[in-house]
Symmetry: C2
Subunit: 271 residues, 2 copies
């Protein structure tokens, strides 16, 4: 469907936009079913935190109402919201009077091979490392060259996702997913205070696990931790959960906690 | 003057452009005098290296001829070239068939206070650190959120530039400049293999210094090194050289090597 720019149909962006010039903005990729944006509150919560940390004064009520209106027209698919700092003066200093710009884009539902969810996926071991940057860690901002060059490391369909470590060797996430492991019944995911994207599905799964009395841990994960895991899976707010069956020489069975959480994620995304 | 998109006048960008989505591209900011883009070969050389490292297959002959044509119309001012990876499919994987997109923007000459060049400038000591990322170090790419948040750390005119260290405490550069120091007659600038932008004026000054028999060193610079410097200056390809008179509690005199190189930079930018 047609994109919207600042609430009106449009297919073009001002060349002065700071999203283009500097990647100065944030985005959210939201699954839409039955005209509803799914996990909307979590998406809006992350966006608001990003705006706060980047000092972008957005109208969050307006963003919510536009997301609801756009999703109602889209019906089924994937909605992408890009929020930039608006037009720029020349140079890095932002115009304090510039209003953030809202861009909504609609795509048809993404169809992944059913085997990804059933038998699990193989991860490509990316050589590209995530840099350490606490000032931007966790945010879904528009500076995504690390993901672009990591994703270009493999072609073909053997690997559905890539595994990214940080520059100091910690296991962080996938290129477009967060990563969890299960060890002795504990659900573990990477601490994202140095780098990584704090995914909406990651937050929801941590919440759901706590509600079910499943112990959770947010910590630094080494390759040894990963190797010794009983189960490994990746997740995001569009496909839900894919069990991870292998990465390079490592392999894992698809385990019961992965299946349990996969059912929950499926239910959330089939709403 | 009007912007050009892919060689034609235009003021709008496709919303699918990967420059917007991911900051997936490069840029050059080029001074124009008498209808000529200055230091053009160095700008094109850095752009070509960036394209090579990011695996963007651009037509560099076409880019050169467009820059020359655009500068001839602009006459005097600052020309900004943005080269993006073109339109995207959904997701980080690039469409191998997509052609890079060329965006040319013209601005009037930037007028800085003459005192910046005469008495020198004070640097704001930025708390924002540059992350270590060898895969992107040196490139003038579109992922510039670190510069955006660093530039937002100070307002007013007391400080004309900011000083940026890397996450490990090395002195790297300004927010929109490279930094040099002079110590015992040696011209020293930061090694940019971990982070930083390899500026065109930096490269030209290193070349000019070698031609004049001035010893040069590209190395890691600590705050102690900076403190002990005999002279400090910042540079870029638009303003040339500004002596640095102070940063926080540190101060330096404006020295003879700074003045000598400043004369050379002025001549290059007055061509």
């Amino acid at each position: 469907m047609d994109s919207w720019v600042d609430g009106r149909p449009g297919d073009a962006l001002s060349l002065k936009d700071r999203g283009l010039a500097y990647g100065d903005g944030l985005f959210e990729t939201i699954a839409v079913k039955g005209g509803q944006p799914l996990l909307l509150d979590r998406h809006l919560q992350r966006l608001a935190e990003g705006c706060s940390r980047l000092a972008m004064a957005a109208d969050h009520g307006l963003i919510r109402s536009e997301l609801l209106a756009y999703a109602a027209v889209l019906g089924e698919g994937v909605l992408k919201l890009i929020l930039t700092r608006g037009d720029s003066l020349r140079g890095y200093a932002a115009d304090p009077a510039a209003a953030p710009r809202r861009i909504l884009q609609g795509n048809p539902p993404v169809v992944y091979p059913p085997a990804h969810g059933q038998q699990g996926v193989r991860l490509f071991p990316c050589a590209t490392r995530l840099s350490i940057q606490p000032a931007l860690a966790g945010l879904k901002h528009l500076n995504r060259l690390e993901q672009v060059i990591a994703r270009a490391e493999w072609q073909g369909t053997d690997c559905a996702e890539g595994l990214m470590l940080d520059l100091e060797g910690r296991v962080i996430e996938g290129v477009f997913s967060n990563l969890f492991l299960v060890r002795d019944g504990v659900l573990v995911t990477a601490d994202l205070r140095r780098c990584g994207v704090a995914g909406v599905m990651r937050a929801e799964l941590l919440f759901q696990a706590k509600s079910l009395g499943i112990p959770t841990e947010i910590t630094d994960i080494s390759l040894e931790h990963l190797q010794q895991a009983d189960e490994v899976f990746v997740c995001n707010s569009v496909y839900g959960i894919w069990p991870v069956s292998a990465c390079a020489a490592l392999s894992w069975p698809v385990g019961p906690l992965t299946r349990k959480l996969q059912g929950i994620a499926c239910a959330l995304l089939d709403a």
